[in-house]
Symmetry: C2
Subunit: 393 residues, 2 copies
Amino acid sequence: MCPAPLHETVPATTPAASLVFTTVLSHGPLTRAEVARRTSLSPAAVTKAVRPLMEGGYLVEDLDEGARPAIGRPANLVRVDGGRALFIGVKVTGDEIIGVLTDLCCRIRVARHMPLTGREPAVVLPALIAMVQELLVEADGFGVRVCGLGIAVSGDVDRLDGVVRYSPFLDWRDVPLADVAGTATGLPVTVDNDVRALTVAEQWFGAGVGLSDFALVTVGAGIGCGLVVHGRVVSGAHGVAGEIGHLSIDPLGPRCHCGNQGCVEGIASDPAILREVRAATGRPLASVAEALELARGGDPSAREVYARAGEAIGRAIGSVVNVLGPERVIISGEGLAAYDLFAEDIRTAFVRSAFGTAARCDLMTRPLPFEEWARGAAATAIQSFIGPHTYQD
Amino acid sequence: MCPAPLHETVPATTPAASLVFTTVLSHGPLTRAEVARRTSLSPAAVTKAVRPLMEGGYLVEDLDEGARPAIGRPANLVRVDGGRALFIGVKVTGDEIIGVLTDLCCRIRVARHMPLTGREPAVVLPALIAMVQELLVEADGFGVRVCGLGIAVSGDVDRLDGVVRYSPFLDWRDVPLADVAGTATGLPVTVDNDVRALTVAEQWFGAGVGLSDFALVTVGAGIGCGLVVHGRVVSGAHGVAGEIGHLSIDPLGPRCHCGNQGCVEGIASDPAILREVRAATGRPLASVAEALELARGGDPSAREVYARAGEAIGRAIGSVVNVLGPERVIISGEGLAAYDLFAEDIRTAFVRSAFGTAARCDLMTRPLPFEEWARGAAATAIQSFIGPHTYQD
């Protein structure tokens, strides 16, 4: 069980403590000296930050038998005690809700999928709450309290207020999601943009571990981007950041739902691809899967649509790289299903648009199923639990 | 005189000390409590960071008479002692070298301009060294040693190695500027990209003071951008960042010197505007000033070229805002001379391309003469002097 009452449990409230916790979470077990080196904190500051996390049982210490020196005190290894607390992470897509129960190390213990019959809040919210209740029942079996709920939704999400300001994909406006879910479940709730939540998981456990600057580009229903700069996820002064789907790259391009023209999302998202393949082939295709099949079958018009989509994605990545110069760009999302069709176009357009040494940036793909997005939502709940300072300071 | 021998003088070597120094420099005089609040450091950490800076005479303490409390100890105010050290900052343009002698508060004491007869290193380097020698003679009159030299050059500059890797504007490749200037002058040398250097000055003393996220967009001979994210200037993993001049915004746009097509710089830089006005009017104009005059006189073709340039700049700013969501975008550079001609086009294109609440970003213009760029170069030298940790950690 969590030691303190709900909504009060904050084991570490200094930025140093959060930094130490996330460093041990990503890289642990570590000696205190290694924690100091990786965080640039003084050994005294590490000791001070570790103490309350130890007292709360969130960090534990093991003797490093392998590293026992010939003379002097052996170095102890600090690690996160995953079993100390549970968290729930939920990702909402257009078709389903994906929920995971994780431990404090953000390891998935239980995963659930629930189909949705509609996208409006009146349908999604009760389903979401039912899913959380179900996971809370599962959690009983672990004998550890659930200490937080993270919810990830696409669009303009105000994490501080817990409000989904505008989700074009779900057609939500100003939905006070944290309030509703908190009242119904009794849990502290963190609501964040889904790509940002996934970026936290990639930073802690994925292809972003150890990098101070990277971008995660997601392709599929929309084109999104999560950014880590100077070791922290970029949120934007007004809550908007990483909107590479709405970079306008062609003044003569198709009109986008945002009102602008020639946006990357209006060329390279799954709905845009479906629309263009329908128009180019004159076939009444029902889904992007059928468009994909047609292109794989060699239909030249369909292939041309995918090539244009790949070029748009590559130019968008080139823009991010020219602006920020990250060490790595991770490409993911359900749109990777078509990666064989546009991989070369993405790379060619990226290399052409990257300026000078920015082209040295490492481009990689990484399939991340929706459970990983839900895990990202759980990671944001762990962030909030450990202290708000990793998110805002 | 600086207390320690040259190349050894590092008054503060911890990230906390650098942070305290720059906070006092930008916002001082401050009480220790206020320094702790602004830096998120503990009062104990502030006291520890302040001590060596005081001992070295870089920070001094004044009694805050106005804030003397009715009971208890009066709060002392900490400030930077500007007279404690001098620095030289140099900006190289295509036509001249601008040099400034500043104090430790980066206040300009002496400014010099020197025309250039060519752009090649064999012409620029001796002129630059002569300018620094001249400023060193001026410095003698102050009775304080010059503790660092900062040089700002456009292009891909490797600050760590002190090498200008590629400056398209000067047509330099792999010029070991820090080595050459350091050997000739005996000073510790910091070489940085000119827009990044100007961004440091804006962050410390200009329109970026107090903001953790802002962008500085410069228009003129090139289109550049300096970025501050999470309170620190973005340098890019491979030295390239803020290259908004090479965002490709139109697949049918003119070929750019970088090899790509439809770059912002190929539409909106002064050379691009001159080329387009010449082509549109058929007149053999000698300079962008003549193009500007023609447009101001009402020539519709010339005005159209400026409108297109403004639209490109506005779309580039929209891209930065969609990717990073800064609090403010500062527009500067010698191209502001034409601002009356394209201000409306910049704003219209920005608002159209900004996604959702990102459009709330504050757009402002700020004329910054080349002395300010040279001051930025001096600021990078002060950064290096105070400790490398504000630049890289």
